[in-house]
């Protein structure tokens, strides 16, 4: 069967909640059932067919073409399957995702991968603020899986992340990994101010020294850390700049903190060759 393909005809005026559109939720749907699927559009409900042309039948491989930044919550809570998005995606991409893969060929909005529990989200572009972060009211952000961003990420990336990894090939904004509970965030570009502010545990791994480091992250000196080899080895399957990193690059400067919050986290900055 060919992949189920939803092609957005025109850019909508309001935001569309696409949470109902995921491979597992569309399993068993015929194309006419998909067309009748009810979606939130602004303050009313519409049928999916009003905005999308539908081709193909296999929802396990879902393709959204001509996408735009007003399509929110694509792949929210998805438990299986693959979603490919051509164009930008809105906010809450992969929110609470439990398994499967999402690939965006464009930018993604805010709260990308928020509450994600497992699986893989790849954004071939930039993502907004609060990537992998906890939405207001949630105690924890991302809880597993991998978010890979080939561009840059906004502010507060990984705010309250609990587990999993966020890999940013480009830059990250301010307060990266703030209030981090655990997990890993790696950034190959520049990083803004106060990364790791309020972090309890977890690892921030930066290619470059960030714009500033909170006073409560203390310099522990330069070290060769063996676990980095395991981490770098785990990147080798990714089609990414991360997979091309020298796997023997284990020398880092270690800042421990946030000492105001347990202090069991760490900010590691690779030592230049």
């Amino acid at each position: 069967m060919t992949a189920l393909t939803l092609t957005l005809r025109d850019k909508p005026q309001h935001r569309i909640d696409m949470a109902a559109v995921s491979p597992d939720r569309l399993s068993g749907f015929r194309p006419e059932d998909v067309a009748r699927l009810s979606l939130h559009y602004g303050n009313r409900r519409v049928q999916l067919g009003e905005f999308f042309d539908i081709t193909g039948k296999d929802p396990h491989d879902l393709i959204i073409r001509n996408s735009c930044g007003l399509l929110d919550a694509i792949g929210a809570g998805m438990e299986t399957g693959n979603v490919s998005i051509y164009g930008n995606s809105g906010d809450y991409l992969g929110w609470g995702m439990r398994s499967g893969t999402i690939e965006v060929h464009g930018d993604s909005g805010h709260w990308t991968a928020s509450g994600m529990q497992n699986g893989m989200i790849r954004v071939n572009g930039n993502c907004g603020d609060f990537a992998g972060a906890a939405i207001p009211g949630d105690h924890q952000g991302m809880r597993g899986g991998t978010l890979l961003v080939t561009g840059s990420a906004g502010d507060r990336t990984g705010d309250r992340i609990r587990r999993g990894q966020i890999l940013i090939e480009g830059d990250a904004g301010d307060y990266c990994g703030a209030r981090m509970v655990a997990g890993t965030i790696a950034v190959l570009g520049k990083v803004g101010i106060a990364p790791g502010y309020g972090m309890r545990r977890g690892t921030l791994l930066f290619e470059q020294h960030p714009a500033s480091i909170p006073a409560t992250l203390n310099d522990c000196g330069e070290h060769t850390l063996g676990f980095l080899r395991l981490l770098l080895d785990s990147f080798t399957e990714l089609n990414s700049r991360f997979s091309q990193l020298d796997r023997n690059r284990l020398r880092v400067r270690r800042y421990a903190g946030d000492l105001a919050c347990d202090g069991k986290g760490e900010l590691l900055v690779w030592i230049s060759h």
Binding site: H223, L225, G226, F227, S234, R247
Partner: protein
């Protein structure tokens, strides 16, 4: 059956079911990985007195080891998963945690697991941190030379312990030469260890003793100095007997190792004083694995 002039007894080795695990030890160099591995597998010849039987399985190149450093693969065998786990933790704590630059990783992926670093981490006194990479959890314990990196748990499997064969020779040195040849060959077989010193045991035992407190005692039927006063198994031309005990992850591994070792020993031939190959058993009543020498060598 006769191979190269060496007579092969029509008997069998009797082996037992055990639980086994593999751990991979890495360090800055092979020298230090071996120091750690030898300490960990020390005093681990027999479960009767040591709690576990352990040995070095193989040397790992940096490419084969999990963290890209030189390593050693170690196998440990216990009579139960509980006994195995207890010994493993004790040996990791006393022999690997203490060894400079060492790290230890699971060498076996199974549904059933035992603790590797799960409790050792508390040595970190609250400064220890964990790292979940993929679906494996590692512990980083701060120590004076940096960090002791250890995986949280390792798998274990059912295994076979007590495969054996006896080399009967015209002199002690000739028996030892044959054992060295056998061990050199058997060390190249994967999934097995020979847990006794240098892989060889000279104090083959029988079950029980005239002394009630002893569970095992010398096997007088194979003691050459008692040939004239016991129901001996030795002919007048045999002056020395040595045994090689082999534990393996499966009966097929043990069989392969036994065949490899016996063939290597027989390679020296009768001209080098190797007279007979035999094997130890308890009449087939205790162990469920029987390795018949003639079948193995057929």
């Amino acid at each position: 059956m006769i191979i190269n002039g060496v007579s092969i007894d029509d008997t069998f080795a009797e082996a037992f079911g055990m639980k086994a695990t593999r751990v991979l030890i890495t360090a800055i160099s092979h020298r230090w990985a071996r120091h750690a591995a030898e300490a960990m597998t020390g005093f681990a010849t027999s479960v009767i007195g040591c709690g576990v039987e352990a040995g070095i399985e193989a040397e790992l190149s940096a490419e084969q080891a999990p963290d890209g450093r030189p390593g050693i693969s170690v196998l440990l065998f216990g009579m139960s998963s509980k006994a195995l786990g207890k010994q493993l933790e004790a040996r990791v704590g006393q022999c690997l945690l203490t060894a400079p630059g060492s790290a230890v990783f699971a060498g076996m992926r199974c549904d059933k697991t035992i603790n590797l670093g799960r409790n050792i981490r508390f040595f970190g006194d609250g400064f220890q941190t964990s790292k979940l990479i993929g679906n494996r959890r590692y512990w980083r314990v701060p120590v004076m030379d940096g960090e002791f990196l250890c995986e949280e748990s390792t798998g274990y499997t059912s295994a076979v312990g007590g495969g054996n064969f006896l080399i009967l020779a015209a002199s002690q040195i000739q028996a030892l030469n044959a054992c060295e040849a056998a061990i050199d060959a058997m060390c190249r077989v994967p999934n097995v260890i020979m847990p006794f010193p240098g892989g060889v045991v000279r104090s083959g035992s029988k079950i029980g003793s005239k002394y009630a407190a002893l569970p095992a005692s010398t096997n007088q039927a194979y003691c050459p100095t008692l040939k004239g006063m016991t129901d001996t198994q030795l002919t007048p031309d045999i002056e020395s007997v040595l045994e090689i005990v082999v534990n393996g992850l499966s009966d097929s591994d043990v069989r392969t190792a036994m065949r490899t070792g016996i063939e290597a020993a027989c390679g020296l031939g009768a001209q080098q004083g190797i007279k007979r190959i035999s094997a130890g058993n308890y009449g087939g009543k205790l162990g469920k694995f029987h390795f018949h020498l003639h079948e193995i060598l057929a």
